[in-house]
Amino acid sequence: MTFMCETPVKRVPCFRVLDDNGEPIIYSNYEQQVSKEVAVKMYNYMVTLQMMDTVFYEAQRQGRLSFYLTTLGEEAINIASAAALSTDDLILPQYREPGILLWRGFTLQEFADQLFGNQDDYGKGRQMPIHYGSNKLNYITVSSPLATQLPQAVGVAYSLKMDRKDACAVTYCGDGSTSEGDFHAALNFAAVMEVPILFICRNNGWAISTPTEEQFRSDGIVVKGPAYGMRSIRVDGNDALAVYAAIHTARRMAISEQRPVLIEALTYRVGHHSTSDDSTKYRPVDEIEYWKMARNPVNRFRSWVEKNGWWSDEEELELRNSVKKQLLQAIQVAEKVQKPELADLFSDVYDNLPSNLCEQEKLLRETIKKHPQDFPSDVPL
């Protein structure tokens, strides 16, 4: 009679391609998968994402935005995973994955429009900031409740399977979300239904103030995959090349073998949970600084790209200046664009406007006409 031990003898190893200094670790079976164009594009977008977060975060601090949430420290997961996927793959994000949209062509102006909830926002001002969505770019609108996107992604994957598409569903979650019941249901179902899906878990060490030691007692998330009969890998989430390689391979497995794959990407949440949080209250400042500086994924990838002769200091300066200008411009423009019009209060509740909402809108318009001073002047009628 042998009980399986609750703690493993050895932790599951972590796949890496670059060491902390951006030097390639020589593997016998690892093949160079990233060309110069892709590498430079990836680096560009990692810098853009980092700057976008910094500038928008500041805008919230200045009172120009109501809320913001950064992806600082997780740029490699965002951009490298997006680069390894196809635009036909449907993304069901949690909320710390705007880099996927960035890679697929969402402009800084489009981001700003959503943040300001103006007329150009594809969400018609219905959602809090950072709840982006784009049908065109196959990115399902961000939804606040945690982990609900996981079984929904299995539904999408099942639909792709029924349609025999050469694509998979890709869904992201954090370490905290893996405690939700939906995580369990999704992984279990995905394995039983044999659907083409990638579960990418960003294990960044923190769920607001809850560290992983208080979130679960298992060896991270990767060990949960085999418990459901699912192929799984643990990867260094701050190593852009490792993330790219793992996602690229996992995607091929998922589609050609019609199976789910779990990828645990280890990383660190450099920023606060959101603008409503001050993480220095529950974690040491020097820990944050360490991950921000010494273990920064953007710098690490830059080292590798530069050593290949594909990037220079001048180009770096040029890129950062250009992106900063674009960001400030985007904010200025978005701030001035009109807010969504009154009719958008009532549309989209149902496919067609029901009679009760028609009446309510009519009544509201009449009341506004009678008492214009009681209503905000910046809502176009």
Binding site: S144, Q152, G155, S159, H184, F189
Partner: protein
């Protein structure tokens, strides 16, 4: 001609109680007569919609090999295969989420809950995802999904199997909520629900599954569909309006027969649609009768009757000649013992007494403190 015969048979009598009389009338025109159980009505509706649209698929516990926990999906696995009739593991949250995801993609899932009591484990997906996504994504994510299953009290199944969720789901914008009574309701409303681009909660009743109702030739046609948001006047009357949905429609019709013998001519409205509520039919009826009794099996507080009462106060206060009477289940978790259960749900006599009170034929209840 068939429609006229049906009307004559049904005037002043509940379809169920007059089965004997009805059947004999049908037999004399047997070439056109047909009866169907609610179970068969739902099964045929699912079958026809799945046949017409390859995007429609059914998902739930026991819907496939077991032919459905209540046999509603009998024969469908055999006909359409495991890709379109999915037996799911036991996770309401899981398969409801999967259904929502499939709907986001563009399929038309029909998600079966073994009873709506179990939908509690998935209600976040229904409310926060299915109901709100079209609005919160500004039309980018439509959710053409149907959630169906038995709702409300059955017989001897206790509190966690007897809860009525009509008012829970009925309060949520973004959802449509339907509750059929007869086989024709079941067919027409389920077909409408499956075809509708919005998420629909379809509240059936376990005890009605086995009940047989006459169905017209029109209702048997595969293109048959009932409009969502329209109530049906099951029995015309002029003295008091009785609103009900699902099983309580049968009780209301029986109560109306008893009342008729005492000279009270009741108008019975089968709501069919909880959200949107057919306020205009209800109000038109109350403006005619001036008296209203709302009937539901579920708990009274924040129930469907409360909403109907408010609707009438908003639109037709001047027409009321008596306070609105509300008949609902007892405000206790459903007890199991048969005698207690009987006292916890409305009985026909309760509806009769309420109608009489509304007509000033009996002493008003003392107002509760």
């Amino acid at each position: 001609m068939w429609g006229i015969i049906r009307q004559n048979v049904w005037t002043g009598r509940s379809p169920v109680m007059s089965l004997g009389a009805g059947l004999s009338a049908f037999r004399s025109y047997s070439s056109a007569g047909k009866e169907m159980t609610v179970r068969d009505a739902l099964n045929s509706a699912l079958d026809e919609e799945m046949s017409a649209d390859p995007k429609v698929f059914l998902m739930g516990e026991e819907v496939g090999e077991y032919q459905g926990a209540y046999k509603i999906s009998k024969g469908l696995l055999e006909k359409y295969g495991p890709e379109r009739v999915l037996d799911t593991p036991i996770t309401e949250a899981g398969f409801t989420g999967i259904g929502v995801g499939a709907a986001y993609y563009g399929l038309k899932p029909v998600v079966e809950f073994m009873t709506f009591n179990f939908s509690m484990q998935a209600i976040d997906h229904i409310i926060n995802s299915a109901a709100k996504s079209n609005y919160m994504s500004a039309g980018q994510l439509s959710v053409p999904i149907v959630f169906r299953g038995p709702n409300g009290a059955a017989a001897g199944v206790g509190a966690q199997h007897s809860h009525c969720y009509a008012s829970w789901y009925g309060s949520c914008p973004g959802l449509k909520v339907l509750s059929p009574y007869s086989s024709e309701d079941a067919r027409g409303l389920l077909k409408a629900a499956i075809r509708d681009p919005d998420p629909v909660v379809f509240l059936e009743n376990e005890l009605l599954y086995g009940e047989s109702f006459p169905v017209s030739a029109e209702a048997l046609d595969s293109s048959f569909c009932l409009p969502i948001g329209k109530a049906k006047i099951e029995r015309e009357g002029k003295d008091v309006t009785i609103t009900a949905f699902s099983k309580m429609v049968g009780y209301a019709l029986k109560a109306a027969e008893i009342l008729a013998k005492e000279g009270i001519n009741a108008e019975v409205i089968n709501l069919r649609s909880i959200r949107p509520l057919d306020r205009s039919t209800i109000n038109a009826s109350v403006r005619k009768t001036s008296r209203l009794v709302t009937v539901e099996e579920g708990f009274p507080q924040h129930g469907v009757g409360a909403e109907i009462c408010m609707s009438v106060i908003e639109d037709s206060l001047g027409y009321l000649d008596a306070p609105v009477e509300r008949i609902a289940g007892a405000d206790v978790p459903m007890p199991y013992a048969a005698n207690l259960e009987r006292m916890a749900v409305p009985q026909i006599e309760d509806i009769v007494r309420a109608a009489k009170r509304a007509c000033y034929r009996s002493v008003q209840k003392a107002a509760a403190a």
